[in-house]
Symmetry: C2
Subunit: 290 residues, 2 copies
């Protein structure tokens, strides 16, 4: 971490998306880093009124109910009155991304947006206009973000370096994930430039059954939560093979990345930095590592 950093015990995280699995993991990761867990959080309709995380109880506020913003405003004010710097973390639902961001912007509440989907352009635009400090990142795993950036750099620096090579891409995720991996799509764009032959998204082999995922090497206990990617480049004559893999079991690496992003953002808030909207590359560059 950079030198003038905020004490971790003065940062309070409002973990919107509790009691979801990602919200739970993120809350625990933040507590393990010494951050404070705010006593209230936004959730969706039909959820329980509160949830326990370790020894902490968090009241759950239905984001779609009237007055939700007033409850959150009171929560933020209370945290600030205690001398804490509140940061919202969002792991909710694609349909809530823009509405939640509007609320953070209205409250001037810095946030880490880990939820994917929604209108991303509008999200960036409204956050920039509001001037709310935020980390907006569709993938919170810093190492995968670094890998993606590295492949992009190679493609830009040595386009065609792998001309004549054939490309094969497989990715496995829990069977509830319908769409193609966003990371795979981004990496395939770089690989297409390296082999001088763009690969259409339909050629990315998606594994979405327990049987296929297990054959791909996913441990049984992670069939319902994993992200495995294998990119293979083979030379025209078959004599050379390159293979790049990144395999993630469970959610802990994303939760750790969120905690990094929160600490990064709190420091930027404390330092009164002018630039407001960040991504995980900024977090990586800051050296705000675990």
């Amino acid at each position: 971490m950079s030198a003038p950093s905020l004490p971790r015990s003065s940062i309070a995280v409002i973990v919107n998306g509790l009691p979801g699995a990602m919200g739970m993991q993120v809350s625990k990761a933040c507590l393990a880093r010494g951050l404070v867990l705010a006593p209230a959080a936004l959730t969706g309709p039909g959820m329980p009124v509160s949830v326990n995380v370790d020894s902490h109880t968090v009241a759950l506020v239905d984001a779609t109910a009237p007055g939700a913003i007033d409850t959150m405003r009171a929560c933020v004010a209370e945290l600030k009155a205690k001398g804490l710097t509140p940061i919202a973390i969002d792991f909710t639902h694609p349909s809530a991304v823009n509405k939640n961001a509007d609320m953070y912007n209205a409250l001037g509440l810095p946030f880490v947006m880990g939820t994917t989907g929604g209108d991303r352009e509008q999200l960036l635009k409204s956050t920039r206009e509001a001037g709310t400090p935020a980390v907006i990142a569709p993938n919170m795993c810093k190492q995968i973000v670094a890998f993606q950036a590295m492949m992009k750099h190679m493609a830009e620096t040595y386009p065609g370096a792998f001309e004549g090579y054939t490309l094969r891409v497989e990715e496995s995720h829990q069977k509830t994930k319908a769409d193609t991996s966003g990371t795979a799509k981004a990496v395939v764009e770089s690989l297409g430039a390296l082999v001088k032959k763009p690969m259409p998204e339909r050629d990315i082999k998606k594994l979405r059954t327990d049987a296929d995922s297990a054959s791909f090497g996913v441990p049984r206990e992670h069939l319902d939560g994993h992200a495995y990617h294998t990119y293979r480049l083979t030379s025209g004559d078959g004599s050379v093979t390159f293979e790049f893999k990144h395999n993630v079991n469970g959610r802990s690496t994303y939760a750790e990345g969120v905690a990094d992003a929160v600490i990064f953002l709190a420091d930027r808030v404390a330092a009164g930095k002018e630039r407001r909207v960040y991504d995980m590359i900024d977090v990586l560059r800051s050296g705000a590592m675990l």
Copy 2:
């Protein structure tokens, strides 16, 4: 290739190191690209007087015999008299690297040095002082060179991005290779910066028996000529694994890289470029691809 390039049929390669396996492969790769194979080449003591490559006969000149330089001077003059641009290719022996380079420099003969070992600093110094155009590269596989450059870039841009990860490196080569892979050493240096913990060379696992190499996935027919590398990064909690592999069977990719380097160098000679000593990164950047 860049626009104003020399016709391939006007480039003559003097393949020093024939009748060695690498010399043979390189000769064939150059012929396949339409280059001319010079009728003489340097070799070591105790070799036959000539060798056939496809339908071509190449006279072999013992580089350690008196008068070797005069024979080569005559060969170069003869090629030039035919309107050809002569380029020497060196796949000889570590002990011959500096002596051969001295000869190329004395003759003003552009060269591609593929032989490893020798006094590399002296090699660069004497070649720069002589002003001889040369490509000096310990690894002629452009894709591996690009991969190495990419890892170096990631380590320099995001040092510590993989802090807390453990590193495991295995490489397999034919059993006659005594030392540790130079590529593995270079990549391990970058990976050490990424995990913030340098890995000593002795921790690179070297596989050098047919049985170990076969278990590592090397096909039987390539046990006597292969270069397999696997780098694995595992997060502290074991939930995330990154794996990078580059596996080469036989020598064709290096031979193709040499042919690329020759064409690149001949173009630079023809264009009268000021900068004289190049490496494979320069060849890559030029886009002089297969």
